[in-house]
Symmetry: C2
Subunit: 546 residues, 2 copies
């Protein structure tokens, strides 16, 4: 089913400061940054546009068994809505049948014999999940801007007229309330969303014999990825709508085995490079609207390190040596800056920087960052070799070996067979995962470490799809295929069973209302870092698609 037929639109270079991103004490030359900016602009995707319509009316009904306590139930055909006075239908919820991202328009018409003599005041609330239409937004308790919530109050001056919302919205459900009107009667005669993505077409279908739940997980992951593929890989099309380096890494993995829009990956790699900090360390995120700029002051060490891995994967997937060579100085510089965070003991020296890995409260990142140093430095060396730039990293293999040695020496509890992290010797899924991905343990040791945490109820497990991705990747890396499959089925399958249309930013099987921002409706319910089952299922069919 080709949901997104290609409609050619004029490619735009976007708004880009072609004079470069010159900074004081810059390790990169203005010419380099200018080149990267230009290449990011030139790699702008042709946006695919599809006009979509509501498919039915629904009622949002309280149900303790439903996800977040609310569900949408059938309440009639959409056609009836358009035939009927809006004044008699205030509060109607329309269901577009799928998660969509784009621009909303509608047409207001008078009913017979009416004359419009006053403006009409409406409230439009766009929602990714039923609960967003049931939980009051105000007074707003959340920790992010209230403005991300998609409720808009609209004044319609005259009827008949057409209305377009300038704001891009991301939703499946639309609630329409009449807040003010005069004695005349009117209806909405037509509405649509110009849905937008830079993903073209549909990925190859999975083998027919693939189990239904795996098919569902893949389908929802593909939808998640498609929605997040805009002019950059966005982290979430509802919120925060920007390019994060960590999400880019996961989206590029999923894209490479589904939509294969490698140009988008290229654009994002160049874009992040162009706006790196003066010392060369990449910002954790960047924006391309209204112009290309980084979120200055926001740097995540583990994200920056992943640039090497992402560029290596890109090169392997595309053979595009030109891009890889262009960006090699950036990749290399991540290892150079990373070294300033490593002390004489070949461990993280405590220099302040945000180390993320996961939103899990209380998670100690020291072991994970040690494993991440090892993993990404090895990737840097492999990338250098593929590009014939081994001399740039001549000392890195030995340095990396010392990091691995320090990890074993200082963090490995040989008796229990697990890595411990921090003063409280925390045992977590992600400490084992990153040490495994770094190859710090033998395959057998890694299997033991991972199995151990899986069997320990008190082990700190990941709280997000992002962290979960690396745990599953580690399970696969050491041959624990059954465990990898079970973990994926349990985690993403849990979201499927709870009715996900797209996969969520935050998913805790035991707490539907968990929010890093103190308010579940501000969570993103279509979040890039949750799309990676597409990668697992399609990249490891022998594990997942059987």
């Amino acid at each position: 089913m080709n949901l997104f037929a290609q409609i050619a639109v004029t490619a735009t270079l976007g708004s880009v400061a072609l004079v470069g991103y010159a900074q004081t004490g810059d390790v990169f030359s203005p010419q380099q940054r200018n080149l990267w900016l230009q290449k990011a602009a030139a790699a702008m995707s042709v946006m695919q546009e599809t006009v979509k319509y509501p498919v039915r009316k629904v009622a949002i009904v309280s149900d303790t068994a439903a996800y977040q306590g609310w569900k949408a139930v059938e309440a009639g055909a959409a056609a009836a809505f358009f035939d009927t006075s809006l004044k008699t239908q205030s509060g109607t919820v329309l269901d577009f049948g799928e998660h969509l991202t784009g621009y909303f328009s509608c047409t207001f018409a008078l009913t017979t014999t009416s004359v419009s003599d006053a403006p009409v005041r409406l409230k439009l609330t766009f929602a990714e999940t039923p609960a967003e239409l049931a939980i009051p937004f105000d007074p707003y308790p959340g920790g992010l801007s209230r403005a991300w919530l998609q409720d808009e109050t609209v004044t319609v001056d005259y009827i008949p007229s057409s209305f377009s919302l300038s704001r891009r919205v991301s939703f499946r459900y639309l609630k329409i309330e009449v807040l003010g009107s005069s004695s005349f009667d009117f209806r909405i005669s037509e509405m649509n969303i110009r849905a937008q993505t830079s993903a073209v077409g549909e990925p190859e279908p999975l083998p027919a014999a693939t189990p239904p739940l795996i098919k569902d997980i893949d389908r929802i992951g593909v939808a998640t990825l498609r929605e997040c593929m805009q002019t950059v890989y966005e982290d979430g099309p509802k919120r925060d709508r920007r390019l994060w380096l960590g999400d880019l890494y996961l989206e590029a993995l999923a894209n490479a085995c589904s939509f294969k829009n490698h140009t988008l990956t290229k654009r994002c790699l160049y874009l992040l490079a162009a706006v790196a900090a003066p010392d060369g360390l990449l910002h954790a995120c960047a924006f391309d609207i209204p112009d290309i700029h980084p979120q200055t002051g926001t740097q995540i060490l583990d994200y920056a390190l992943l640039f090497n891995t992402a560029l290596l994967d890109y090169l392997k997937n595309t053979g595009d040596r030109e891009t890889a060579l262009d960006l090699w100085p950036v990749a290399l510089q991540q290892t150079e800056v990373a070294k300033t965070f490593i002390g004489d003991t070949f461990m993280y020296n405590g220099k302040p920087i945000w180390i993320f890995f996961d939103w899990r409260s209380g998670f100690d990142t020291k072991a994970a960052i040690q494993g991440c140093f090892v993993k990404t430095f090895k990737d840097a060396c492999e990338l250098a070799q593929l590009l014939g730039r081994q001399k740039d990293v001549a000392t890195l293999p030995a340095f990396t070996a010392k990091l691995a040695g320090a990890a074993r020496k200082n963090m490995f509890d040989a008796k229990r067979g697990v890595f411990v992290s921090g003063p409280d010797r925390q045992i977590s899924y992600l400490s084992q995962a990153w040490m495994t991905l770094g190859g710090v343990l033998s395959k057998k040791e890694a299997q033991k470490a991972l199995k151990t945490v899986l069997s320990m109820p008190e082990a700190v497990y990941p709280g997000t799809p992002y962290g979960t991705h690396f745990f599953i990747e580690a399970l696969i890396a050491c041959g624990l295929h059954t465990e990898a499959r079970e973990y994926l089925l349990q985690y993403w399958g849990g979201m499927v069973h709870k009715g996900a249309d797209t996969f969520w930013e935050v998913y805790d099987p035991d707490n539907d209302l968990l929010s890093p921002y103190n308010f579940a409706p501000i969570n993103s319910y279509c979040h890039a870092w949750a799309c990676t089952p597409v990668y697992f299922i399609r990249n490891y069919p022998e594990i997942f698609a059987k």
Copy 2:
């Protein structure tokens, strides 16, 4: 002071159905209606545009002595607002120093080192009076569309950016509230209103010796008229923004001795003619946006009758016989249709129609409509004579004399010297006024009738500037100049003393919160029918400007 410098903009014909306004059983031919529509379109004014800025910050302060209990007090220079973070100034009220009608824009800027990473949610409330910013709008108790209230919730996607509100606003004060934002800091660096009117320049100044209160009343009346002069004579630029026949009559009077934009009067006369009902009776109001159309079902007999008077005045003021001849069939038809409301006794026969004259609760209109028949039929005869169309009204003078006779016979209380109206023999200001304007009484009788009601506390007095206009006109007509001057000074002077920037739709000296719509903030505080002191002061300088 030339506030509104002429900025030439392209004149537009507006959206006009040049196929005419054909209707079943139409007394006018499609060709006639088509001609009137085309002439209305061709008479579109060039809109005058002036860019205006806030002049200061104010605080809205409770004060039982202030109009409606609230006043605006100085709270600093406007410049400080633009230099300062908006997040620290949520709730600021900016004062533009005068009543303005047009299109609002502003520019959002980041403060140093900030990066915009989320949308911002703002509430903008535009207000004509301080109380509109203090009285909560919701839950809305009013009887007209809530959407007329000028509070807009706005999502600003990115900063820096520019924002324009698509809705036209009419206001002096603007309150700005931040409803949602992220950690980054921002300000509004610039804002303006593209103020719009079809009035050009400023009227002649009054003689220097004119008393200050008369000068104030004239100045505020001129501002009221200017604001209501848009693509049509609007009744109120905040609400209801349409052409009412009664308001047109008063605005045309004031315009003829101030801005002299007779083309606007012409456009409005043609426009109302073009959309008359099939029997030829004019609709009480019409719209020219989004296209020219009447408010079907809304006809006011006294308004329709005034078309003759308005066209007669137009001809006298301009000498434009072509227009008067074009529209003579419409004027004549008003007298023809009016006859169907007159019975064998030469009195109103009770056939249902809206008879207005004033919003005063309990006012009995029977005497006033009798006087109005006489007055406007006489005007029709004078108009016919000027146009050489006496034969069209050959029987009208005798008919009118019978109406006058019936009025005296059935409604005049000779003993008290006043007209009484309705079964309760109500004595009202407007009964006497309209009989005076119709010449039903001798000058001496009229003086006595008007003086009598002025001395009777229980006499029903007008509740609006509209009704008050005709009472003052009647005082002048019978030579009661001192009383006319005092009444005007007391009524419009009362609004001046209460701080009016423009004159109000409703003014009861004893009840600031009186509203025909059950909610004072929905009243119009710049209302066309309140502009007539401009006419009185400038047309009768010997009475008012001394």
